[in-house]
């Protein structure tokens, strides 16, 4: 007999479920076995009576939050703290799967703090970050992928990330992975059945059937993986290194980008020759900009530190913007920078070469000349689309060509497509890794089939594939997985 899934945490927790700001409405969430009784003590219905315990599950009621300790209360007069709507959810039918009360109060830091304090005074503990979600996961209400998405949502920094997180939370990634996994399981089941019951299962044409099925699965996994990097980068923000020789216009570019948008993070401590970091939003993308000191060899100790950091910034970057003064001939330093940049491009970073000061260049022809020279700096793999940077000419002084720069940045990371695409994204590095491992296992299955091995060999790699996909859903018990995920939630603090 299946028992209802009921959560049995001993203590009751509470926290503000919305931001504590001067908003129009603020929600305090209370969850746990004492949620009803604790809230009952501080809630009065429209008639001024204690009524919460009589409410049916999943209903919402108007009333007031009162301070039960205040002298006015003692005198049977209500000391009203706020006018609220209160929702009552009974275990297991709530987000956390526990008894839950949500108090919809008038927003405002003071009011919300006062209500929260009243709740805590009833023997309720302040929730740790992510604890509601943790309880939802442990209560079996959401799977690991959904839990991760909630966490992403809480910390998402821009519109795209928010949308992706929302999509994941509704289980889109989960259901996509589930369907892939079920198809793998179907093949596994057939093989197992055929091994045990050769009389009733004909495996004559099976290798061909499986080959087709595997090819289909690989194609779908490829589609998932195609935008996985971009999705992750957009979600986490594009780490952008601005490099170039002094006076090429790096700082102007930085100022231009930052100045035109609201800076989210301001200057990080450092010397004038150190790297300077800013985060800006361009279109739907978040850019973490690093202005570097140039990478010229130098005797100056301070400058050396700067050079080291610049190289580091290039190594870490998702996007490298190389600013060149188009009005001057290229120097040895530019060659060196191009080399460092090329390395970054090879490992998958994207690059833009910005030919600045186009306004100072005498003719279009001269500009083309410089551009060609700049292109020649990147000799390797001209045919390869991936490792070749994009060349743009612009003037930071006049602003000409700068709009194009922003557009190109968004285009490079497929921001537009990602927004429009209706497929789920693998924004988590963990998920992308698991899918790519699963795909690799399928490749091995394909090789086994092509090598003419019998079906009992396929199952080893199919099993690995199945397990990898299971990791995304939390269906595969891993030693340290829960720790890893919820450590971001500050679990066990």
């Amino acid at each position: 007999m299946a028992l209802p899934v009921k959560n049995t945490n001993e203590d009751t927790i509470a926290a503000a479920a919305t931001a504590m700001t001067e908003a129009g409405i603020g929600i305090i969430r209370v969850s746990g076995p004492e949620a009803f009784s604790a809230c009952d003590r501080i809630f009065r219905n429209a008639a001024g009576k204690r009524a919460l315990l009589s409410y049916a599950a999943n209903t919402i009621h108007f009333g007031h939050i009162v301070d039960p300790e205040s002298p006015a209360e003692a005198a049977k007069q209500m000391n009203i703290v706020d006018e609220v709507m209160i929702s009552v959810m009974k275990s297991p039918h709530s987000y956390t799967t526990e008894d839950t009360v949500e108090i919809n109060s008038h927003g405002g830091v003071y009011v919300m703090n006062r209500i929260l304090q009243l709740v805590l005074d009833q023997g309720v503990r302040l929730a740790e970050p992510g604890e509601f979600t943790k309880r939802a996961f442990f209560g079996g209400r959401i799977d690991l992928a959904e839990a991760e998405a909630v966490m992403d949502m809480i910390s998402s920094q821009n519109e795209f990330a928010m949308k992706t997180a929302a999509r994941q939370m509704t289980g889109e990634v989960s259901s996509k992975i589930c369907s892939l996994r079920e198809r793998v399981l179907h093949e596994l089941a057939f093989i197992e059945a055929a091994i045990d019951d050769p009389e009733n299962y004909d495996t004559e044409s099976y290798p061909e059937i499986l080959h087709t099925a595997v090819a289909g699965l690989i194609e779908e996994m490829d589609a998932l993986l195609l935008y996985a990097d971009d999705s992750r980068i957009i979600k986490e923000g594009v780490r952008t290194a601005i490099i170039g020789r002094p006076n090429a216009g790096k700082s102007s570019l930085m100022n231009y980008l930052v100045g035109s948008e609201r800076a989210i993070v301001t200057e990080i401590a450092g010397t004038t020759r150190d790297t300077l970091e800013e985060s800006v939003r361009i279109g739907g993308a978040l850019l973490h900009l690093t202005d570097t000191a140039g990478i010229r060899e130098t005797e100056d100790i301070v400058e050396q530190i700067g050079v080291g950091r610049a190289r580091q910034a290039i190594e870490d970057a998702d996007l490298v913007i190389f600013v060149i003064d188009a009005s001057l001939p290229l120097s040895a330093e530019e060659k060196e920078i191009a080399e460092a940049m090329e390395k970054a491009l090879h490992r998958g970073a994207k690059g833009i070469v910005l030919l600045n000061k186009s306004d100072l260049v005498k003719s279009e022809l001269a500009l083309r000349e410089t551009e060609k020279e700049a292109m020649d700096l990147f000799h390797a793999n001209k045919n390869s689309k991936i490792s070749s940077p994009l060349f743009l000419s612009a003037s930071l002084l006049t602003g000409s060509g700068m709009g194009l720069l922003k557009e190109e940045i968004l285009r490079l990371f497929h921001v537009g497509e990602l927004k429009e695409r209706n497929e789920p994204y693998l924004v988590s590095r963990r998920h992308a890794e698991a899918v790519s491992n699963a795909r690799r296992s399928l490749d091995l299955v394909r090789q086994s089939i092509e090598a003419g091995l019998s079906e009992d060999f396929y199952s080893i790699d199919l099993m690995n594939c199945y397990a990898e996909l299971g990791k995304i859903l939390g269906e595969q018990v891993e030693d340290d997985l829960a720790e890893e995920i919820f450590s971001k939630f500050c679990l066990g603090k």
Binding site: D196, A451, D456, E483, G492
Partner: protein
């Protein structure tokens, strides 16, 4: 005054489980008494006449690797042998031998009779005697005295140094550390139907299908055990009063016919292998190259199915007379016809029951239909038109336990010294029974000696899979071993059971030092030869190219190692001899391993990694005294299951039905905190 006899271990039942259990205990130096309803039924094969087959052949090999008897016994008494699935990968190769049933039984009886310290007693055991474990501290001395009463150990064979060693230890009472235990009950003996009490410290219940058995042929129900044997009537009540819940399972067997009445010309003949591979690592392959008996293949048809459908309401199962749950994987012909309605025919194998009899077994057509329906249905099968039935097909119902009350050692949780094995544990099959009997016997002896129990992991053997499935999963039907149940089957091959398990047999004392040293030498030879083949290169010289061309193998473009050549499907170890003049001389058992290890290296490696992952969770032990009520976030269902099964490790917890991965994560986090 009741009559009391002192012994050390009592084994109830002398079927395949009981024989292995009793032999293991006696060989490990314990005075052992084995009870059987009838000495003529020792190691009886009341169902099919073969040992081994897909995955079951693996079990027999493993039993042999650990020092059990089944493999040796079938090697002495088989009349046909075949390696199955040779067209597939090495993981699913499986040995199956047709037994001469009467000889098999006689031979096993001879072995039991020849075993020192093993007493055979024909008697129905009616009661298992228990005492409270707390009270046992006082009786500890009594037990020791009792142990000392047994006859002096004079049986030590000179060639068996290892066994001697462990026997010496076992007779040294001071090392008999009886683990102090809290609560529960302890076994003190058994009572037989005459009232006589056998005092002992361990009991191994191997009652097979005898407990409260009834046999059904259509409307005809007889209160008998298998093949008309007397059933056991009183033990069930004793078990239940000891708090052991019983349930009812059912199984069935087809008819036996007079072989002279069959027309074999209408069937396909099935011969044994030209070169027979023995089951036992101790059997000399030269000894098993005997003249073999053929089996025959025929098929049911629409007419057969029609008769069955017409009379389905007379089948005791479909009429609701049978209450027991039957095995899905060993279905009766009625089940097959109903469940695979779209199939127009099913395979039927005609197998001889032995050299000295005309009786043949009709494999694939077990049934519990009434006699008249059986007669008509069998006669529709080509070759069986004039068949004369000697014994009817019948279904048998019997009492057994849900093995989830057992520890992985096969001892009942909370009843110290009470072990269970075989069909009593809800399994089916001779091999499954023998494997459990051996493990139960070994663990009873280990407990007696205060030594570490023997628990085979799922990653180490089919025996491990079998026992883990039985004790961890919610089995609702007789459990049958199957290849697909073993996750790591490429490592658990029938060809390497000795490499996997022999050291355990040596550790417990059933494998001699000589046997163990032979294993170590084999391991080393395999290792050295693999290294050598990877090292030795051949170039694209003319003789080499010609050699390859002669074998239909592609030319060499660059030099390559012998190992690389061995990976070509058209070449094998023997074929490469011409390119490898300096190769050392190794036995086939070594070169077979070399070939498999090299050819399937990538797969074996990947499977090993899977095992590593698996073992990581197996090694995360759950403390025996864990209080699941303390683990706050567990769902109620999971908490109940965990409390009920009390898994020994996180790994085992992941396999419990009703426990989700999320529950296990909760448990893992709790254990982390618990550790700190």
């Amino acid at each position: 005054m009741e009559y009391r006899i002192k012994t050390e271990v009592c084994v109830i039942g002398a079927g395949h489980a009981g024989c292995e259990a009793a032999l293991a205990c006696a060989r490990l130096g314990l005075d052992t008494t084995i009870f059987t309803m009838n000495v003529d039924s020792i190691a009886m094969m009341p169902c099919n006449p073969h040992i081994g087959g897909s995955s079951k052949g693996h079990l027999v090999r493993e039993i042999d690797a650990l020092g059990g008897e089944m493999g040796k016994n079938i090697d002495k008494t088989f009349i046909q042998s075949k390696m199955l699935n040779v067209s597939k990968g090495p993981a699913v190769h499986s040995l199956r031998a047709q037994a001469d049933k009467a000889e098999y039984s006689k031979e096993m009886r001879r072995v039991l009779e020849g075993q020192e310290q093993l007493h055979i007693r024909q008697a129905e055991v009616t009661e298992i005697l228990l005492e409270e474990a707390e009270a046992s501290a006082a009786s500890e001395d009594k037990l020791r005295d009792k142990a000392l009463d047994r006859p002096e150990d004079t049986s030590a064979s000179s060639e068996d140094k290892a066994r001697n060693k462990s026997r010496d230890r076992s007779t040294d009472r001071s090392e008999d550390s009886i683990v102090e235990r809290k609560g529960g009950k302890r076994v003190t003996g058994v009572r037989i139907v005459t009232g006589t009490v056998y005092e002992c410290r361990a009991v191994i219940v191997c009652t097979g299908t005898y407990l409260n058995a009834r046999c059904l042929v259509g409307e005809c129900i007889t209160e008998t055990g298998p093949s008309g044997m007397q059933r056991s009537e009183l033990l069930s009540a004793s078990l239940e009063s000891a708090g052991i819940p019983l349930r009812r399972f059912k199984t069935g067997t087809p008819a036996r016919m007079d072989g002279r009445s069959l027309d074999y010309s209408k069937m396909t003949v099935q011969q044994g292998d030209p070169v027979v591979v023995p089951f036992s690592y101790s059997t000399d392959p030269a000894e098993v190259q005997i003249e073999q008996f053929p089996c025959y293949l025929t098929y049911t048809n629409e007419e057969t199915h029609h008769i069955i459908r017409e009379n389905i309401d007379r089948s005791p199962i479909y009429a609701g007379i049978i209450e027991g749950t039957g095995p899905r994987y060993c279905p009766s012909i009625e089940d097959k016809v109903v469940k695979f309605a779209e199939k127009t025919r099913h395979q039927v194998f005609i197998e001889p029951e032995g050299r000295g009899t005309n009786e043949v077994y009709v494999d694939g057509m077990s049934s519990s239909m009434p006699d008249d329906v059986q007669q008509r249905m069998y006669r529709t099968v080509p070759g069986l038109e004039h068949c004369e039935i000697i014994k009817n097909a019948y279904a048998i119902e019997y009492d057994c336990i849900n093995a989830n009350i057992l520890k992985p050692t096969l001892e009942i949780k909370d009843i110290y010294g009470l072990f269970c094995a075989g069909q009593f544990n809800g399994s089916s099959g001779y091999e499954e029974a023998a494997a459990q009997g051996l493990i139960a016997g070994i663990n009873a002896a280990m407990e007696f000696k205060g030594k570490e129990p023997l628990i085979i992991e799922r990653s180490e053997g089919y025996i491990g899979v079998l026992i883990d499935d039985l004790v961890s999963k919610d089995n609702r039907e007789p459990y049958r071993m199957m290849t697909s149940r073993a996750e790591y089957r490429l490592l658990l091959r029938q060809d390497n059971a000795d490499l996997r398990l022999r050291r355990y047999g040596y550790r417990v004392g059933l494998i001699t030092r000589e046997q163990y040293e032979a294993l170590c030498n084999k391991e080393e030879a395999i290792h050295k030869e693999i290294e050598r083949l990877k090292r030795v290169k051949v170039g694209g010289s003319r003789p080499v190219q010609e050699f390859l061309a002669a074998k239909n193998s592609a030319e060499l473009k660059t030099a390559c190692s012998l190992a690389e050549l061995l990976c070509r499907p058209e070449l094998d170890y023997d074929a490469l001899a011409g390119l490898d003049p300096d190769r050392p001389k190794y036995s086939r058992s070594v070169t077979e391993q070399v070939e498999i290890e090299i050819r399937y290296e990538g797969y074996i490696e990947r499977q090993r990694r899977q095992v590593e992952q698996f073992e990581k969770l197996e090694r995360r032990h759950i403390p025996e005294d864990i209080d699941y009520d303390e683990v706050k976030s567990l769902r109620i269902e999971a908490r109940q299951k965990l409390k009920q099964y009390r898994p020994a490790s996180i790994g085992q917890a992941t396999r419990l039905s009703g426990v989700t991965p999320a529950d296990v994560q909760v448990l893992l986090i709790y254990l982390e905190k618990f550790k700190k």
